[in-house]
Symmetry: C2
Subunit: 761 residues, 2 copies
């Protein structure tokens, strides 16, 4: 069995040596270069565009503006599977170029030139006349009457408002002896900051548009390009090479539609669109900034009699992934801490900030900051140990969610917390750090979370897989689910090897997705890949094995049920004799003059299940009160993501997520000018991205409870590690200082205000 072993990544050598090909490596050096003219206001209208100077610049092939669009094909950008039900489709509110500006950096015009220099010069030479409107940056402000309106269809800028009501809140709060604890919690706009910025190129061949793109979701982007250009989806081919990270930003159709459109404007010539870091901050996607208002009504024993939650999610200028994120955040609370009387409201609201989309955790880092902060606020108020409160009131063993049918099959929360406690020496330190005085204080904080695996039943979950047998018995595996740096290709090879009974080295995962050839799969998101693809891999490998053994029967006349494939050999199970190698069989099958057959296997597996992933984070901090600085001293994440396919890769996933969570908790926030909505720190110097230089040792541990709904016992791990970190840090600061900091990240600016309020400075 290779599943469960920390084998080396299949792409390790290529990525380390620089041999692995990314989009830009593959693009012909003679490509035309496109650059985008972005709006320099945050809200308004384009009145006119003067391109005359730009067109004079040598090397400029074409300048295209929002006024050149002959037909307006509105399209959605969210990387969700298509729904044939119009009511479940994503909001189609984008045009490849627009005259109605909804955020600072909106796409007004583009230049196509022979080279970068000419394109950049031409962009600078374009002159735009605007009709400028006031901007609004905060969702609660944006909901007010009289606020600037972004989309006609959405009064008060409310993209969506949903509720989750259980029991009778109004009645329940009348219970005697309840203590009411209320808090507001606020999370920042942050960007994914993948190393490789978005890049794509497009050319026409055989009357079709061929797009090569740095995306997580090639099959979805194919569809969106078709929508954006108003052409049949089969007229678009999308190819995804290796990509340098995505984290959800590339789970949107970012600029493939524009690039494809520009290609059509120059007769199908090859056009490349390479996005800068500044554009990535301002014009890609960001994590939804959210505000949470939580009111809990507690009985003296700490049990929650009733709870009210309001979520205000900052959507930015366009719908993108929209309300799903706020809804997920909202709905997570009553599952994490079940309560008989709950009233939750979630609002997703347009503002003139950068468009918010998918980002690792999809609402859960935000809500976890709020609810786990709130939980520790409760504990402090009620005088209950944070750990004991959770042991008592968290989702209990056997809990089943009515909607997803997810179940807590094992005592995962306690098992995770036990491991974390032990690592961080919780009991000793929680006592040691109680009642500190002085300028430098230490604290221990914790946070838990649950996470879905994949998107069923909200949306489609299916995975298709194809396997191709080579002459030497090695096998190619093709899947629509994508390698985006997380190691998916390696996990797929491990799964395939085990089901087929061949050595790991004999599996070649086809890393590149090509929508013309790759079996349909929607891509990398929702921590779905090993779970979802696992079904298709198992089904396809079993079918492949059956075909192989059928052929082995033809060659050996041994009954199929006495045959197996073990370590790349056809073995008679009755006596263990190796009858032939799989390579010998494959060669005979291909070249047989009696019965020639290229043994391949392909199929779709529709997944109608979902699975809870669980985990916790324990963090230890040192707070310098006069300096208002938080130093992270030690941190551990413990995850129950079911069976580990590759422990080393799982650990790497957790490290990455923890790093992202640390940035979210301590340093990262995209700031905007209040007047213009211009992003102020749209670069990696001013935006304080959390890197390994900023971390202590990151400890990652696992509880392996095999998930019964899963083909390989595995479940979500991609996003979970980012979820509990910021709240654990926040709670550690609370323990250290007694001050609840409810605005993430916990920057000195925020601490200064709160420490002043609380009289610490």
């Amino acid at each position: 069995m290779i599943v469960g072993k920390s084998v080396k990544r299949v792409d390790a050598v290529d990525k380390i040596t620089g041999r692995a090909k990314y989009t830009d490596d593959l693009c012909d050096k003679g490509a035309l270069i496109a650059k985008i003219y972005h709006s320099t206001i945050g809200n308004g209208l384009v009145k006119s565009i003067d391109t005359s100077e730009a067109e004079k610049i040598k090397g400029v092939v074409k300048v295209v503006t929002c006024f050149d669009l002959k037909e307006k094909h509105y399209f959605p950008t969210a990387g969700h599977p298509w729904s044939t039900d119009p009511h479940h489709q994503d909001v189609a509110d984008r045009l490849v170029l627009t005259d109605r500006i909804r955020f600072y950096g909106d796409d007004i015009a583009a230049v196509i030139a022979e080279d970068e220099v000419a394109a950049s010069q031409a962009i600078r030479a374009i002159k735009v006349e605007y009709e400028e409107y006031p901007v609004v940056l905060d969702p609660i402000e944006a909901m007010k009457d009289g606020a600037p309106q972004l989309h006609e269809k959405y009064p008060n800028n409310i993209l969506a408002h949903t509720t989750n009501i259980k029991g009778n809140y109004a009645e329940a709060i009348k219970e005697e002896g309840l203590k009411t604890i209320e808090g507001w919690y606020e999370t920042p706009t942050v960007q994914h900051c993948h190393i490789e910025n978005f890049i794509c190129y497009c050319y026409e061949e055989a009357g079709r548009l061929h797009v090569v793109s740095s995306t997580q979701i090639p099959h979805i982007v194919r569809r969106i390009v078709g929508q954006a250009l108003g052409i049949d989806w089969g007229k678009v081919r999308l190819v995804k090479p290796y990509i340098g990270g995505g984290f959800g930003n590339k789970q949107d159709a970012l600029y493939e539609p524009l690039c494809a459109y520009l290609c059509t404007q120059v007769g199908g010539r090859l056009v490349k669109l390479d996005i800068s870091r500044e554009e990535t901050f301002a014009c890609n996607r960001v994590r939804h900034a959210m505000k949470f208002h939580i009111i809990s009504h507690l009985r003296p024993d700490g049990s929650i009699a009733a709870r009210k939650v309001e979520v205000f999610s900052n959507q930015g200028g366009y719908a993108s992934h929209g309300h799903g994120i706020a809804a997920k955040a909202m709905n997570s609370i009553p599952q994490l801490y079940p309560c008989d009387n709950v009233e939750c409201d979630a609002y997703t609201v347009f503002t003139n900030r950068t468009v918010a989309g998918a980002m690792r955790g999809y609402g859960m880092p935000q809500v976890t900051f709020a609810i786990e902060g709130h939980t520790d606020d409760i504990c402090k108020e009620m005088g209950i140990s944070p750990l004991q409160f959770r042991r008592k009131y968290l989702m209990p063993l056997g809990y089943v969610d009515g909607f997803s049918k997810n179940e807590l099959y094992h005592d995962s929360f306690n098992q995770c917390m036990d491991k974390a406690m032990k690592y961080i020496d919780y009991d000793r330190k929680i006592k040691e750090y109680a009642n500190q005085t002085g300028d430098i204080r230490r604290g221990i904080g914790m946070s838990v979370f649950w996470y879905n695996t994949a998107v069923w039943p909200i949306s489609l979950e299916s995975s298709s897989c194809r396997m191709v047998l080579n002459q030497d018995g090695s096998v190619q595996v093709q899947l629509g689910e994508t390698e985006i740096g997380q190691g998916a290709d390696t996990a797929y090879a491990q799964m395939t090897a085990d089901v087929l009974g061949i050595p790991f080295e004999m599996v070649h995962t086809v890393s590149t997705q090509d929508t013309d050839l790759t079996p349909f799969g929607t891509g990398a998101y929702a921590s779905r890949q090993t779970y979802t693809a696992g079904f298709a891999i198992k089904q396809t490998a079993l079918q492949m094995k059956e075909r192989i053994l059928k052929y082995a029967y033809e060659l050996t006349r041994m009954p199929i049920f006495n045959l197996d494939i073990i370590d790349g050999n056809i073995v008679r199970t009755t006596d263990g004799r190796v009858l032939m190698t799989l390579g010998e069989l494959a060669t005979e099958a291909l070249y047989s003059l009696q019965h020639s057959e290229h043994i391949t296997s392909e199929g779709t597996y529709q997944i109608k299940s979902n699975a809870y992933s669980f985990g916790c984070c324990f963090a230890e901090v040192e707070v310098d009160i006069p300096l208002c600085k938080v130093q992270l001293v030690d941190i551990i994440n413990v995850h129950d993501c079911g069976t580990l396919i590759n422990p080393a890769l799982a650990e790497a996933q957790v490290h990455g997520g923890m790093s992202m969570g640390i940035g979210f908790g301590l340093t990262e926030t995209l700031l905007y000018d209040e007047k213009t909505a211009k992003p102020l720190n749209d670069n990696l110097l001013d935006y304080k991205l959390s890197t390994f230089m900023d971390h202590p040792h990151l400890e990652a541990q696992f509880v392996e409870n095999p998930e019964p709904t899963s083909a390989f016992g595995t479940k979500a791990l991609g996003e979970p590690p980012a979820c509990p970190v910021a709240s654990a840090i926040r709670n550690a600061v609370l323990q250290a200082t007694g001050v609840s900091i409810n605005i993430a990240p916990l920057r000195p600016h925020v601490l200064f205000e709160r420490f002043k309020e609380e009289g610490l400075i």
Copy 2:
């Protein structure tokens, strides 16, 4: 029905606009450049190689010589399907670099450099010491005792000698009243002269060698690269983009093995090997020059009582496609003109000429020049009309070949000859041109031929196909059979459209073969493609249709047998109502929350049949006797290649083949220095390639007798057009002048000698 229509080629626009990508277009411009050091002697040994000066040149990365090979992996180069029977495998007599030189230009060493200039300089700086042996250029000379020996394993240089004996020749010739007619016929060494010279590049990724090559046979070359490097075949990936012609030269593994080997010598870096025209002439493959000795014993009515044939085929230095070509030539005679008493011998003999391999016609242009020339010699001698002789003694209707089981199902020969006669006004002109005198004379000549379709039962015939349904109902088709300029992709799209019931525009043929992904198919050769691939296409499309209709049943609850796909719609056949478009069905199938399925289809069809193709050529010439010049005045080819898939493409095929036949008959011959075996006219200035400037109008007509063994009624057309042309011209010269010219091409040099002998000048 789109089959039978002259639809525009699917690659027409891309090829005309230069948008279509060939190997060099795809290669990264940063590739290392490899160049080969070729021997400057025609026979001998390399004693030493001094690379010291070459290595000093700036930009040289590595110089590799024949002495650097750590292991000697001998490999075959012929593009035949692998045989698991060692006795039917091609001769493995090549090394990527050799110290035993067998032709002028043999591969001794190679340079890998940063750029072309450095590589070329380094090649010039290499110093080689040889032990030189005498050369032999003629097969009959090479068979003599004492001739230079090329391969130890093959005494007297005979690669193979086979016979075809029927009846009792020795007895039969004793019959009274027989007239004996004997002739020697000789055909030249010619080269394919495809526009795109051979080119390939190789790089290592994921521990495997990725080779992109201008080849006709990607799946075969994958295997050969594996053999040449002594690695598992699955460790090699072969990709074939568009190629600029092949004509059989690229049905050999030309330099992919060397390029792949060189790649391994620089740590897997990208290495490109781009072959010049001079190298193409000297170091690729050529058509086997052949000598035929035919003795016919005829009764007074012209019937053939007995016949003896000897074929001597010039193999050049290595085995390549070897004896199959001479054997095919030899065996064609008793089928074309059945005779009860036949004794045939065919010898394939190594010489120090350029290695002979596959070339359009595979022995048939040679033997047709001989047997059809001989036939007209008989007619002249016996005073029988060439046309009447053929009507009487050609393979009769209903003839079945015992080996291939091919059958002459229709009166194809007569139908073809009737059409050609009519076009060229044969009866009138044959009379008009009889008994001419004067310096300028005209003549009419004719020639017939038959041709196989594909290689069964000599070798494996199988084709695998995969189809992928897109959301809009369009379909990708993948096949191992390759587009090499002939229009195969278009024919495949037509076939697919008709079987599936969708418009032609909705079929996207995947032109690029990628051995990792493309269903196994052996490639373009033996005029097999439309015939062979047709089976796989039909089977796969029918299976696809069944799956689609099954899904249509789920959606409509209409019984499958009342459903059909017509013009891209799901139609209820009982009342003709369109229930939905295929696009609607495909979209629902992909995204259905009830039953999601990516509808694809894949399978292998093993073909255990073969088919006779037939045709004739009639040519009219004007001979300037004092100048010894032949001017082609008019020419027609008529072919029965079964049902035409695309008449315009079929016509283009015939035009190309006729042009090749004209060159073979009149101008083309690769000349060698008798002492050194150096090719003397290894460029397109001195080698008189036949081009459209040299032709009159080329008339192509067809007789469409559907082939009953064929999935679409089609059979061989790729190679046949080249077969009968030279002999028709030769016979026209005979009619014009009364002089039989038995050496092709009919250059002034040859005519001068013969006209002198015959007293015309």
